[in-house]
């Protein structure tokens, strides 16, 4: 597709350049033919020695005008697409003028030197060289005059309006008419009434066009200085070319006799070139004077342009909120645009060792390292941070915080805070080489910009924070899902036993853990644990605990052995300030006993059928508290003979430490009371009843700790049925998480409903 397009677009391009070349060749050929014919006419005049008939003379003039018409068109095509750079235009015209004067002078050295070479009486050439002399001079002068007009055209039409174009073409048209009014006139005749009348409108439009100087405004100070100089030189050159009064003779003319020569060659051409030179004089005069008058206001103009550019970049600030680096660069560059500062940089506060230090996040026209060498950025930053107002050092070198020397380019310094929501988000520095470089206007412009920039910075920061927050939330959601998978997805089913379990986290992830492992047909290991602390770190240790339970319980199922191995396994990975409290038990259906041990955990509650309720508070250190022999030495197992109707409740401290709005704890006593009161319920109902009571106690208060609750009820079994142990999907609550456990606990885990 691009190739096709390319091919399509190339053909007309080739065509047009081909056509241009043909046009050049044709015009060149036309001009050359006519030019040679004209010389031939003059040579014939010389050899004949008498004037030609009016018809022949008329034909000659038509040929000459055709020749120069062709030359004009040729040059017009040549200069068609030049960019209107004022400096370049003046330079080229001046150089061409000098070239014309130089070459013209050489032509006048063709003998007869000092004479035009034509008889004043008969208008006939006096020497065979004379025709060449006049035609060469005419060619040189016409070329210069045409180029001058064509180049100045670009300046006059810099700001194209309908009238500017019209005025220009009218001027050229009237110049042409004025020129034609001299058709067939003898060189001896002065400017008559008809010519005078024809010249007046041409002159009027020359004046009108010479005031089209809008290109001056956008020039820099240097540019204005340079062009006014060139325009002045050109003005002198053109005046010299025009001569002051040719009629009286003896006047100064840069190319002696040029005007007379062109008159002998072609009267209309002489008028046209003369008018062109006069237009040049006019235009150079107005340009020169305008340039001079505009010089003092250049600074103001540049400042306005800079301010506009800055205001323009303000609108870009908003879109750069998503790209902080670009935003910093734009802000740092603003003082250079807004008030022509030499260098500028943006610093932002960075928290280091408990204090805010400035860091240069973007610098323009200066290196960040260089800035640090030149001044105490931190001191200036701190001052502006505390005063919250722009700080101006008109004579920066005199300030003790500036280490720069004269010549380092730090003449004056402007330090502006970027304030948003009463916070200093950044500080913008701008320097100028000169002392007292910043005017009130500059301070104003930078302050306006600073306010906008601060808003953009603030938005960028909020945006980034929001992104970070969303990312963290996403991460935590994943962590939570992973952690949920670590809790049992289904409860084991054993004959004569009912189970219910739930766990909620105060944060997205928590350090509570409960789990079951079916050791064999008759034995079930269960665990409830609580990692110290909350949140992510606790969640990692909880995961480790899960791994230990799932593996070690199968190898060393007895509570003493299991906890000993778990303590050893955890010793290396636990932080000094982290420990895990665990209660671990093995339910043996065959022996009808429950053996459990407590490693620093809340004691299990045991409620008998008769309402007798007690805590099984055996001795034992939390995992990770002692990494030596003390742990094993102090650990005590508790062995309970199962009686039908026995209820064991294992939980974490979140349950007993739950507080109501008055700040009272739920407590061990209330827990035991509620369990005793509901002891006839089966495990799931008992579980629900306890959470309901807990919820009622807490009122509207949110959980502020992880909370886990496991209820086991022994119904008793007939011997022989004990073997029928299997695992079915959990219908009672387990591993269900949420803010309202009493409601969600009754639903199966999400992965089972899918």
């Amino acid at each position: 597709m691009p190739a096709k397009w390319f091919a399509k677009s190339q053909t007309p391009a080739l065509d047009s350049s081909e056509r241009m070349r043909v046009r050049y060749i044709l015009l060149g050929a036309l001009w050359a033919t006519c030019y040679v014919l004209a010389i031939g006419y003059h040579l014939l005049l010389w050899s004949a020695g008498e004037p030609a008939s009016p018809t022949v003379t008329g034909v000659y003039h038509v040929v000459v005008l055709t020749s120069y018409g062709a030359l004009w068109l040729l040059l017009a095509h040549l200069f068609q697409h030049r960019t209107p750079a004022p400096g370049r235009i003046f330079w080229t015209v001046l150089l061409l003028g000098i070239l014309y004067v130089g070459l013209g002078y050489l032509v006048t050295r063709i003998p007869p030197v000092g004479l035009i070479g034509y008889s004043p009486e008969t208008d006939l050439p006096l020497a065979p060289t004379a025709p060449f002399k006049v035609s060469l001079l005419a060619l040189l002068k016409a070329t210069f005059a045409f180029v001058l007009l064509l180049r100045f055209r670009d300046l006059v039409l810099v700001k194209r309006t309908k009238s500017s174009r019209r005025n220009w073409y009218l001027m050229i048209g009237f110049m042409g008419i004025a020129a034609l009014s001299g058709f067939m006139k003898s060189p001896q005749e002065g400017v008559g009434l008809i010519q005078g009348l024809a010249i007046i409108p041409a002159v009027v439009f020359m004046v009108v066009n010479s005031f089209r100087l809008s290109w001056i405004v956008s020039l820099s100070f240097k540019g204005k200085m340079a062009i006014s100089g060139i325009a002045f030189l050109l003005l002198i050159l053109l005046s010299g070319m025009a001569g002051i009064d040719v009629e009286s003779g003896g006047n100064f003319e840069l190319v002696p006799g040029a005007l007379q020569s062109v008159l002998y060659y072609s009267y209309p051409l002489a008028i046209f070139t003369g008018l062109a030179v006069y237009f040049g004089i006019l235009y150079c005069t107005t340009a020169f004077l305008s340039l001079l008058f505009h010089l003092p206001t250049t600074g103001d103009y540049q400042r306005k342009v800079g301010e506009m550019a800055t205001m323009h970049s303000l609108t870009h600030l908003v879109s750069q909120v998503f790209d902080p680096e670009k935003l910093f660069t734009t802000i740092a560059a603003s003082p250079i645009e807004a008030c022509s500062a030499q260098a500028s940089w943006l610093t932002m506060p960075v928290l280091e060792e408990g204090a805010f230090r400035p860091r240069i996040v973007a610098a323009q026209s200066i290196e960040a390292e260089r800035v640090e060498q030149l001044m105490d950025v931190r001191a200036l930053f701190d001052e502006v941070r505390s005063t919250r107002a722009p700080l101006m050092l008109p004579q920066a070198l005199a300030d003790h915080r500036i280490n720069a020397r004269p010549g380092d380019g730090i003449g004056s310094l402007l330090v502006t805070p970027l304030l948003a929501r009463d916070q200093v988000l950044g500080v913008l520095f701008a320097t100028k080489e000169i002392t007292h470089g910043f005017e009130p206007d500059d301070v104003e412009a930078i302050s306006v910009f600073a306010a906008q920039a601060a808003l953009a910075l603030d938005n960028a920061r909020l945006f980034e924070e929001q992104l970070e927050k969303e990312r963290l939330t996403r991460e935590l959601t994943i962590a939570r899902e992973v952690q949920m998978k670590l809790l049992p997805q289904r409860l084991p089913v054993l004959p004569g036993v009912t189970l219910a379990a739930s766990s909620v986290s105060a944060l997205e992830v928590g350090g509570d853990y409960y789990d079951f492992v079916q050791l064999d047909e008759n034995r079930l290991a269960l665990i409830v644990g609580d990692v110290s602390g909350k949140g992510t770190s606790a969640a990692f240790y909880m995961a480790e605990m899960q791994g230990i339970f799932q593996s070690v319980s199968r190898l060393a199922p007895s509570p003493r052995d299991f906890l000993y191995h778990a303590n050893v396994a955890l010793a290396d990975s636990l932080e000094k300030n982290v420990f895990i409290s665990v209660i671990y038990g093995v339910l043996d259906l065959q022996k009808e006993e429950f053996v459990l041990a407590r490693a620093g955990h809340c004691p299990a509650a045991l409620i008998g059928l008769n309402g007798e309720a007690r805590y099984l508070r055996s001795r034992g250190l939390g995992l990770g508290l002692d990494r030596g022999a003390l742990f094993r030495k102090t650990l005590v197992e508790e062995r309970v003979r199962l009686q039908p109707g026995d209820v064991f409740v294992l939980y974490t401290d979140g349950v007993v430490e739950s507080r109501n709005e008055a700040g009272e704890e739920y407590g061990y006593d209330r827990l035991l009371e509620v369990l005793a009161a509901n002891r006839h319920e089966d495990a799931p109902e008992l579980h629900t009843a306890l959470l309901k009571d807990l919820h009622a106690f807490m009122g509207s208060k949110e959980y502020d700790d992880d909370m886990t609750l496991v209820v086991l009820k022994w119904h008793g079994i007939e011997m022989g049925r004990a073997a029928a142990v299997e695992s079915v999907p959990q219908t009672s609550p387990a591993a269900v998480d949420g803010r309202t456990p009493s409601e969600t606990a009754m639903e199966p885990p999400p992965n089972l409903t899918k």
Binding site: S532, K534, E575, G600, R617, L621, L625, T634
Partner: protein, 123 residues
């Protein structure tokens, strides 16, 4: 917002920390800072007076575990005194009495430091 505070007192060469309020995951860093300060001032013998301590969470207990080893290596110790019964129960459940000297009064704790010093001098 924080309802926890640590007061500093010295009793001879023993640094007494008076804990007030609730020591949980949010306020644990304050106790941490207090113990670090004792360490940096070379007060390795610390008595924590828990009379005003109304609640302690596992994260709060963790602070004691974090520093006890270092302090003991430097010849010091943390002795815990005058705990409220409910707070003592938390210490007790985890088995802290097997790891720390937990006594009824501050005086007793200081006396224990003196006794240890004398024993150390004799030995």
């Amino acid at each position: 917002m924080s309802n926890f505070s640590v007061g500093f007192r010295t009793n001879g060469d023993v640094q007494v920390l008076d804990l007030k309020g609730e020591l949980d995951a949010h306020t644990a860093s304050e106790l941490e800072a207090a113990i670090q300060r004792c360490q940096s001032e070379n007060h390795c013998k610390i008595v924590v007076n828990g009379e005003g301590l109304m609640y302690i969470s596992s994260a709060g207990l963790g602070v004691f575990m974090a520093y006890i080893e270092e302090l003991r290596e430097e010849g010091g110790d943390i002795k815990i005194a005058a705990l409220q019964p409910k707070v003592y129960n938390v210490f007790d459940l985890l088995g802290f009495p097997m790891l720390f000297d937990i006594v009824e009064t501050e005086e007793e704790a200081i006396a224990r430091f003196r006794k240890e010093k004398e024993e150390g001098a004799e030995g």
